[in-house]
Symmetry: C2
Subunit: 219 residues, 2 copies
């Protein structure tokens, strides 16, 4: 599914160059469950954004489902993101002026689902993450872990074939974290692909294999 | 140092009442190191905001250093916050348009420290959290764990007598987390008071005792 070859990503701050990713190679098969670990600042989120078509590498090639992503138009990339990929951001990225329900409905609105069906799907997934009684709250009326779960719900409501989760349990106690991992297991059993960045070993161990990143390189 | 008596905090969403804290009693002595654990949504951040004079309880009494906080003016509360309390927010709350260095200098600017000294102190504390080479970045040019460490640096640069840390290692790998805990140990050895909310057991075990919160109550 994923073939990332010699991916390099460099940022420039003034005259200083930061090599966030250095010639990274990563292959992930359809239906695989991979976890990614590494120190703070080692390049995990940068890698995830490139895999999720949210950022382009400075150099290197990224093929997703056989398509060379670096050669696609912005519209085509947006379509792939909306249809194929469920991205859970490390910092959630919720709409602060919309309700929890509306935040989760948003990807279904983009897909043209009728109102009744998208409400039903959204409420169902919010109940699955334990937020059935928070659907009318706004993000600033939620706890940190509740916001994280809204971000998770929004990513999985479209039944994506690829889940990219960036520290999905960083704000969750282990019991609530286990509930999320149980959901991920279900998604995995249905033949979908999961890549989960985590700093918690109990989360990493649920995957088939663990990829380690250090200073922008996969070891 | 802290005497919280019958603290209740209720939120209203439409007609629904949410009992975030229910008659919570908590005493913390000067120089104590306490950790707080509990499920997502159990009331930990709500409690921390009240202890940090950032929120007022719906009912109950909160005495800090013998003063009845609920009877103080907003100016007096602001002074206490700026001088006595280092608050590390679960969602960081950094100024996005200011550099990392400026974010950490801010509390020292409020205290009237001269520019040379506050730069020196800020750079020193940023080096202590491993961000010496990130001082000119803006928060959106940092990783999640780097932003968390800026929030930590900003809280400790004033040498506060009370540290309130809300999930300070949520975005940190265990090695970087240990470096932060080592800093906390130093602050503790100097006779200061620490209250640390965490969902990670290795963090909680560093404290003298663990307080458990469930559905807004301390068990
Ligand atoms: N402004 C608000 N309006 C309404 N409800 C709120 C508000 N802020 C928090 N809540 C609710 O109060 C409860 C306690 O929130 P709090 O942030 O204290 O939880 P927490 O223990 O810190 O959770 P987490 O571990 O997820 O950060 C949550 O269920 C939340 O939905
Ligand atoms: N926009 C940017 N401009 C400059 N440097 C950046 C930018 N974004 C990230 N960086 C730097 O690139 C490095 C990698 O960042 P990344 O967010 O991928 O790390 P990470 O592994 O996800 O870390 P964490 O575990 O703390 O979330 C970091 O050292 C960071 O400072
Ligand atoms: Mg990251
Ligand atoms: Mg919280």
């Amino acid at each position: 599914l994923i073939e990332a070859k010699d991916i390099t990503r460099t940022y420039k701050i003034g005259t200083v160059e930061i090599h966030a990713l250095r010639s990274v190679n990563l292959n992930v098969r359809q239906g695989e469950y991979v976890s990614v670990m590494g120190h703070s600042g080692s390049g995990k989120s940068t890698l995830m954004h490139i895999l999720g078509c949210l950022d382009t590498p400075t150099s290197g090639k990224y093929r997703l489902k056989g398509m060379d992503v670096t050669s696609l138009s912005e519209e085509r990339l947006a379509t792939i993101r909306n249809r194929e990929i469920g991205f859970i951001f490390q910092t959630f990225n919720l709409l602060s002026r919309a309700s929890v329900l509306h935040n989760v409905e948003l990807p279904l609105i983009y897909r043209g689902l009728p109102s009744k069906e998208r409400k039903r799907k959204s409420i169902s997934v919010l109940e699955n993450v334990g937020l059935g009684d928070r659907i009318n709250h706004h993000p600033n009326q939620l706890s940190g872990g509740e916001r994280q779960r809204v971000a998770i719900a929004r990513a999985i409501v479209i039944n994506p074939s690829l889940i990219l989760a960036d520290e999905p349990t960083g704000n969750l106690d282990s019991k609530t974290g286990e509930e999320i991992l149980t959901l991920f297991d279900e998604i995995y059993r249905e033949g979908n692909t999961l890549i989960v960045v985590t700093h918690e070993r109990y989360v990493a161990k649920r995957a088939e294999r663990i990829v380690h990143i250090k200073d922008g390189s996969i070891r």
